[in-house]
Symmetry: C2
Subunit: 519 residues, 2 copies
């Protein structure tokens, strides 16, 4: 059995059963090995930003690592932005990156690059296998690293000769055993007592959460605590996965604009962190603070991102005698459809109105979708995925990966037109795989967020040359043509009624659809 096949078998045995790929010459033995091993699904992306973004979306929804197959340093390089987003989402990913044969690296052939150097900034774990015998063991360790908890980015570099060389293993005598994923650390009882003290102090207390704490079951416990103590509950601006909708415990999202976030947090006296850090501004702005809480606020940590958030909340509820308190929950409330002009509000109403049970919202709307939260609060229960690392170009890929992880659920991708262009190639994978994704393009023909940011940073009175760098019209993009060119059926709408029709139909019909909503 060659090294590449020991790796594929190790991945599958370790529970990693999907590989998002864009291979090259040095990965050919791995590709052929994929063929020889049952239980590994392979999904091709036509650019590596699509590949890594799909892996992120898959990992968020499958709750386990995905693998990728990338071609040397440049292939990994193309995938960096979405690995950055995945890292910030705590998604587990095992990158398999091909490399020249170990003896060939020194000749500095055209594709030679410092792959470990490129991998480092977006990986928690990096290793280059130096012989075929090492590959299976290295693969098992990569998977263990990717599982975390929390999920991590593990990059295993596979020189071509370690992939193609024979190892001592065969089918009857398979390679090294997988490593069992680590358990989430136990609850820190001291932290629970400290949190309970704050919550019973009579002073305003906020539990600020992300990660596993945003799953319905944990939120319900948090809702009992809130009902019992009167505390507030919040999550980050951008969370990897947030379960919300009718029947679930609602929590506030800390807003992106600094003045609004400061207002949200100004009265908080005790901040209890669960999987989060103290809220800070997304960007620095002249004359605005970086840290969003008041100086007078006490900060304590109930649990780190990799801890058992459900257990921590349960322990806290027990301490507070809130285990049987009825939690705060959201009532079902689907907004009425709007008619007339198409704008963010009419789209938001259609979302809240039509969103099917168990939908997955992959949000990369950047500016246009910021106001959607109230309109979708009482919609059918759904998962909301956000742009955790702020690197645009995640939307189409992670919607695709989520759809592959959850083939029985509808994925709704909210996309800015500027963001969508970064990784539009992902639409082709949606067509090939028949993914059940509705992509809504907010076609405002500009990087609208930057026009706002220009004012926020105090850069006043931009001229034509500056504005040309923020507007993506001239020529306008035709999303119906772009989607159609990759096999995805699409429609362009510029009225609320047109949108309602198109969105309602796309929510009811399986398979990939794209709606260009001209704003």
């Amino acid at each position: 059995m060659i090294g590449a096949e020991t790796l594929v078998r190790t991945l599958v045995a370790s529970g990693v059963d999907i590989c998002f790929t864009n291979p090259g010459t040095s990965e050919m033995h791995f590709v052929v090995a994929l063929d020889r091993v049952d239980g590994m699904k392979c999904v091709l992306g036509l650019a590596e930003g699509v590949v890594t973004g799909m892996a992120d979306g898959y990992a968020r929804m499958a709750d386990k690592p995905a693998s990728t197959l990338l071609h040397l340093g440049p292939g990994l390089g193309n995938g960096i932005a979405n690995l950055h987003n995945a890292k910030k989402a705590h998604s587990g990913i095992v990158n398999i990156v091909g490399e020249h044969a170990t003896y060939h690296v020194k000749y500095d052939a055209p594709l030679t690059a410092d792959i470990e150097g490129i991998a480092g900034p977006v990986s928690h774990w990096v290793r280059t296998s130096m012989s075929a015998e090492d590959v299976a063991k290295d693969g098992a360790e990569a998977v263990a690293a990717a599982f975390g908890p929390p999920g991590q980015i593990a990059t295993l570099i596979l020189p071509a000769n370690t992939a193609w060389s024979e190892t001592p293993w065969d089918i009857a005598n398979p390679p090294v055993q997988p490593i069992a994923p680590a358990a989430r650390p136990k609850v820190d009882q001291q932290a629970v007592l400290a949190a309970a003290k704050a919550l019973t102090s009579g002073e305003e207390t906020l539990i600020h959460m992300t990660g596993q704490a945003l799953r319905a079951e944990a939120l319900e416990v948090a809702g009992r605590i809130a009902a019992k103590t009167g505390c507030r509950l919040s999550c980050m601006t951008s969370n990897g996965r947030w379960q919300r909708g009718a029947g679930r415990t609602p929590i506030e999202r800390i807003q992106y604009p600094v003045p609004i976030a400061l207002k949200q947090l100004e009265s908080v006296r005790h901040l209890i962190l669960l999987g989060t850090k103290t809220p800070v501004a997304f960007f620095a702005y002249p004359d605005k603070p970086s840290v969003l809480i008041p100086d007078t606020c006490d900060v304590q940590t109930l649990g780190e991102i990799g801890d058992d958030h459900l257990a921590a909340l349960q322990a806290l509820a027990e301490e507070l005698d809130a285990v049987h308190t009825a939690p705060t929950v959201t009532e079902a409330n689907r907004p009425e459809l709007k008619t007339g002009a198409l704008d963010s509000e009419s789209i938001a109403c259609a979302f809240g109105h039509y969103m099917p049970e168990n939908a997955i919202v992959a949000d990369e709307s950047v500016s246009s979708g910021r106001g959607f939260m109230p309109y979708t609060l009482g919609a059918a229960p759904h998962d909301w995925l956000a742009l955790t690392g702020g690197a645009i170009g995640l939307g189409i890929p992670y919607a695709t990966g989520a759809a592959i992880a959850c083939p029985d659920r509808k994925v709704i991708n909210m996309e800015g037109d500027g963001s969508a262009m970064y990784t539009l190639q992902g639409l082709w994978t949606q067509a090939r795989e028949g993914c059940d994704v509705v992509t809504v393009i907010f076609a405002n023909r500009r990087y609208a967020i930057l026009q706002g940011e220009l004012a926020a940073v105090g850069a006043a009175n931009p001229g034509r040359k500056a504005l040309d760098m923020l507007e993506i019209g001239r020529p306008d993009l035709d999303w119906v043509a772009l989607a159609g060119g990759m096999g995805v059926q699409a429609v362009k709408v510029d009225t609320a009624d047109g949108f309602n029709d198109a969105f309602g139909r796309a929510c009811a019909e399986p398979g990939p659809h794209l709606i260009e909503a001209v704003l």
Copy 2:
């Protein structure tokens, strides 16, 4: 004057007068400063791979550095693959990469990343400006590094507060002076004598060249030496810029397939390197050597990549008394057009037939265009740009950058369909800027090179799962729709006559055109 404006003024004063951009919040002051300074052209790309690839194409044709504007670590990450290609082409590029304000980095906001770490593997020079007063000086040093010689990648990281803060300078009292680019080192007379000795030894001698040696004037001198001594002349498989065509001195290209390259080099007794290293295989293959020359071959270096190649060849010609020898030159010979089925040969004939005087060929045909050299040898004089770093996704961007550098010349972009998908967003910039580019998509619906490589690495009998990773049909891409969606007029052809018509027309008409050639 704020830091950002001191930087823009320093770039312009240093001879860097174009900025390829995809900005974000942290770059807003730089964008506004672009407005305030005359003499800096700005070109927007809708993805950073497009931005860095355009800068490479521009630098190759303008013979001086271009600048880019990129958004933090992920924006730079998206541009890495084409910076890798630019680095291998010895193109000069100054990357301006925005960063959080210096005091904001420690808070680990979503977009925070190790930018210097991401920049390192693709940069010769990396620096983070730590105060507004440093920015102009750092900018001048970055430009000097980018000029080389040879051209280098310089990455200057610009924290937002160093961009927005005031400096001591104003219009009447402009920031620090530019640094004059370094001269190319003088010719090494010992190396000239050694080369002359080999060339007069009576044994087979090959001068293997790239870089400045492939400009017409230097090639002519090499042609005199070849005529005088009977030596062979060759260039690398992939060169940054190679001037060829009728009336110019022809040289061999070392082929990509290892068996052919070995054959080309097996009889060489003396190898003289000018800007090159000893030829090695692009990839390692089981049972094939990495080094392509025989053990018995002597290797000597006439000049490094950054040296004055023209002067070195002139000194050598003088030493050999070849200054007045008539050089070997290519006779004009435009192939006849083919009729009937569309294949690589009929396309190659149309290229040789129609290519206008002074065309720039941006080659990213990967597999389909490998045989084009003989058909275009006697065409009108032209520049041939190649995929120097082997990282696909360069073609559309560098064709665009070349067209912007040389608005009076026709650019012909040979594109594999797989490669084209990596950075198709560049077509939009062609439409916005009215670039005179003909893109020919070799639509074979597969990563054809990999199907060959699969056999070459000995990975036999691939199954459906493996083949699915190498085929990009199902669904077929519709390039007419994709190009049209970005404002580029396009036509699909599947006969030689159809191609001849479309290509002839596109060569005669200014502005962007795309031809989908179905193979």
